[in-house]
């Protein structure tokens, strides 16, 4: 008979969350015990002994009211402070984090790795490597939850959400969808396998038969006709895409925006929303409905791989997208 009472802790942040949880539990137990004890003790000691007794009135005590308002509030501020710290830490992935892409769709998780590997409801990660998961939804709101890592983030359609963690203990852990999403919500579950570096490299070598995500993106770029207007090195009807990713772009409206994942996704699905300065609106067609979230991510990885003039194009490389400082397949720093 299995009776687990506490989840495994398998990520760098898990123990912080657990300590905060223990602190909250301790305060709760102490407060509850005090109240229970006081009620119990008063009920017993001051139980009615005669039908006619009338206890003298005690109206109140300002000092006591202040004390038991301020002191609990100060304790609660410690909860707030500590919780905010953990939340902050969770919010920004370190720059050397390895990218993984997770698309939630009724009722499965489709995972893509930059090296082209794809999985359904399974996630393989190496130990002690920060992992940044980009989350997208094909349909309704889902939520990507790994209890052993103490991380969770809603997956909202229409945009990208980011979550990150560092796994610290090899093993297999639950992956759950944690936002009700329809019929098979409770079936939208899977496993996260945390492996040592060696094991992970071996697993990766089993690689994606279709090429890396960037290569798949490059193929789509041709198939969907993007190359017609967006040429790599010379001006076409649309902006040059080499070096675009991560740069600041001036829009027709005068605003400047960062060309990040969300911007690229929007440019493909709703090109007239934010038009680059110097280009006319209503020339690029929308690809809404013709492209899945997974394909969008492949295109984004491809565009990301288009480094500044001088670097060899992706197809000439051996399946390694040219992101600085890091080999995405092994997580090692170059």
């Amino acid at each position: 008979m299995q009776l687990p009472l506490f989840p495994e802790a398998a990520s760098a942040i898990a123990s912080s969350v657990d300590y905060l949880y223990f602190y909250l539990t301790a305060v709760t137990i102490v407060m509850t015990a005090l109240i229970f004890a006081a009620v119990f003790f008063f009920a017993l000691k001051y139980r009615r002994r005669s039908e006619h007794e009338i206890p003298p009135p005690i109206h109140g005590s300002l000092k006591l009211e202040i004390a038991w308002s301020v002191i609990p509030f100060l304790v609660m501020l410690t909860f707030f402070w500590w919780g905010a710290q953990i939340f902050f830490a969770n919010a920004s992935p370190p720059p050397d984090a390895m990218d993984i892409y997770a698309v939630g769709k009724q009722w499965m998780w489709k995972i893509q790795y930059p090296g082209g590997q794809r999985e359904i409801n399974e996630l393989h990660v190496p130990i002690n490597q920060p992992i940044k998961v980009t989350l997208a939804s094909e349909d309704v709101i889902h939520s990507f939850f790994i209890p052993a890592f103490r991380v969770k983030h809603d997956v909202v359609p229409g945009r990208y959400d980011i979550m990150w963690f560092t796994a610290t203990k090899p093993g297999r852990y639950h992956l759950f969808c944690a936002e009700y999403c329809g019929t098979e919500h409770s079936g939208m579950v899977g496993w996260v396998t945390v492996m040592t570096q060696n094991d992970y490299e071996n697993w990766l070598a089993g690689g994606g038969s279709e090429g890396t995500m960037a290569q798949q993106g490059e193929r789509l770029f041709g198939q969907l006709g993007c190359a017609t207007c967006h040429q790599l090195d010379q001006q076409g009807r649309g902006p040059i895409l080499r070096g675009v990713y991560g740069s600041r772009i001036q829009l027709q409206s005068g605003q400047t925006v960062l060309a990040d994942d969300a911007f690229i996704r929007e440019s493909i699905l709703n090109p007239n929303a934010r038009v680059v300065a110097g280009y006319r609106p209503d020339v690029m067609p929308t690809f809404q409905g013709q492209i899945t979230e997974e394909q969008l991510l492949q295109l984004i990885v491809y565009i990301k791989s288009l480094a500044i003039q001088g670097a060899p194009p992706v197809s000439q490389q051996t399946g390694v997208a040219a992101t600085p400082n890091q080999n995405p397949n092994t997580g090692e720093k170059k």
């Binding site: 944690a178 098979e184 409770s186």
Partner: protein, 543 residues
């Protein structure tokens, strides 16, 4: 052993129950007491319907596989359990029943400010309930009681609009009740009944009414937009055309968070009445309890984002909401401390209403403190959308609100019906409720931290033992609800007659007969003492 006093001299005086007979005298009544009885009946029916869904959920969850019913059906079970319990039981419960009956009496008035609007409120409630029941009978709704978009607006194939209409209509019942109470408390107090002398139950209902009036219209418009979107395929919340599903959540929770204070504040008001009566002592910190009711009402409008910490809301918004959530806990804590302090050097008796008050104080403390776990950002990321949340809100809603409701029903039963309930059975049921409740919901805290998500039809096998414990507790809890239903009904015919003031409580409602006459008081009372002036009680005799 009950300390309620039975008066052999009481005869069948004309009262609101026997003044007129016939279904017309009930369905067209303007008497707030009769309307309260109408509500008691309808709310009890809805409670048991919601309870049946709860039982079905717990039976399914005995095994890890989804083997009792299919997924769609299960999803409908938890949705309808939520909708019925939240909108048709918890929100109206105490204000529409005990509030309707006793707020006018407690302030020395003949009735509420707008008696016909009061009756209209009840009809509107029934109309809303009809739509909700129609949604159930036609095939059900499966969006969760929270109706999140785009699932509810675009993807669900169930009777979402019907259910949303039911909730929309019921919202108006809530608004009108709140409106009625606000005007009543402002304008209909008897001479000498100053704000500072109001019983705390009145303060609690007043604060609740403020929330009802200000918050409910927002959920009305939110659900109206979802309904319109479904009907006309427009896409206000549809991301594919630029709609924002998170906007729905902001609008929904802007009401639904204050709504939980609509549910708990009247319960807290009841506890203030019970603790004073059964300690035979004035409340400790009257102005703090009254003020904290208002404080909860106001601050409660400012914390809705704590339901949305993992949606990708901005960091600053998240910090703000977490901080305010800590703040809103303070007035609730003040109440718990003041009630406990009231018992200090009191004269405590252990009648059933007091047992429910004890239960409330303990369970609400746990429930409220676990709310802080959820308001703490770092921990919330792990436990939100898991059974931890389910456990938290059932602790405050059932361990708090329902216990307060039962306590209030037992306390005021002799006044409303003129009969005493059987104390032995009542104490037994109170213990069943307390034990059953804890067995049902405490394991869910553990399940939540382990990671079992909410709204799961099938779960991972290692969670089974805790789920079985929870279901076992639910059976005990269910029994604890059914037994009072039986003995309350039994007491109406066979219970010993109660006198005017079987508990020797202060309060204007006890100065008139049990049951009260239709016009509440023979002559308009003139108030000269503060609330809970137990020390001024002379050697009282019944009547």
């Amino acid at each position: 052993m009950s300390t309620a006093l039975q008066d052999p001299r009481v005869v069948e005086t004309p009262n609101y129950l026997n003044q007129e007979y016939g279904w017309r005298s009930w369905l067209f009544t303007k008497d707030h007491k009769r309307i309260a009885v109408l509500y008691i009946i309808s709310i009890t029916v809805m409670f048991f319907i919601g309870g049946i869904f709860a039982s079905l959920i717990r039976v399914e969850l005995l095994t890890p596989q989804g083997d009792l019913v299919n997924s769609d059906t299960y999803n409908k079970f938890f949705t309808m359990h939520g909708i019925v319990m939240v909108f048709f039981f918890l929100i109206p419960s105490i204000p529409a029943t005990l509030g309707n009956f006793f707020v006018p009496m407690m302030i020395g008035a003949k009735d509420l400010a707008f008696p016909r609007i009061n009756l209209l409120s009840w009809y509107i409630y029934i109309g809303g309930a009809a739509f909700a029941l129609a949604a159930i009978v036609l095939g059900g709704v499966d969006t969760g009681w929270t109706f999140y978009t785009p699932f509810s607006s675009t993807y669900s194939n169930t009777f979402v609009i019907t259910a949303a209409v039911g909730v929309f209509i019921a919202g108006f019942s809530s608004i009108l009740t709140g409106l009625n109470f606000i005007v009543t408390v402002h304008k209909m107090r008897a001479p000498g009944m100053t704000w500072g002398r109001l019983p705390l139950f009145v303060w609690a209902n007043y604060a609740t009414s403020l929330i009802q009036v200000l918050g409910t219209p927002v959920v009305a418009i939110t659900l109206a937009l979802v309904g319109l979107e479904r009907a006309f395929h427009i896409g206000i919340f549809d991301p594919a055309i630029g709609g924002d599903p998170i906007l729905f959540q902001h609008m929904f929770w802007f009401y639904s968070h204050p709504a939980v204070y609509i549910m708990i504040l009247p319960g807290m008001g009841v506890i203030s009445e019970l603790v004073t009566c059964f300690s035979r002592k004035g409340i400790f910190g009257y102005s703090f309890i009254a003020g904290s009711s208002l404080g909860i009402a106001i601050i409660g409008f400012l914390v809705w984002g704590h339901h949305m910490f993992v949606t990708g809301m901005s960091m600053y918004a998240s910090l703000y909401f977490s901080l305010l959530t800590m703040l809103v806990a303070v007035p609730s804590a003040i109440k718990v401390f003041n009630w406990t302090a009231t018992m200090f050097r009191g004269s405590i008796s252990f009648d059933t209403p007091m047992l429910y008050a004890f239960g409330f104080i303990g369970l609400f403390t746990i429930g409220g403190l676990t709310g802080l776990f959820l308001g703490t950002l770092g921990v919330d990321v792990h436990v939100t959308d898991t059974y931890f949340v389910v456990a938290h809100f059932h602790y405050v809603m059932v361990g708090g609100m329902v216990l307060a409701y039962l306590g209030g029903m037992h306390y005021w039963w002799p006044k409303m019906t003129g009969r005493l309930y059987p104390e032995g059975w009542a104490k037994f049921s109170a213990l069943l409720v307390f034990a059953g409740f804890n067995l049902t919901f405490f394991p869910q805290f553990i399940l939540g931290y382990l990671g079992q998500p909410r709204r799961y039809h099938a779960y991972s096998p290692e969670f089974q033992v805790l789920n079985v414990m929870s279901t076992a507790g639910a059976s005990v809890l269910g029994l604890g609800y059914i037994i009072p239903l039986i003995y309350f009904l039994w007491s109406m015919k066979y219970g010993p007659k109660a006198g005017n003031n079987p508990w020797r409580a202060t309060g204007l409602e006890w100065q008139t007969s049990s049951p009260p006459p239709t016009y509440n008081f023979e002559t308009t009372p003139i108030v000269t003492e503060e609330a809970y002036a137990y020390h001024d009680q002379k050697e009282t005799h019944v009547g």
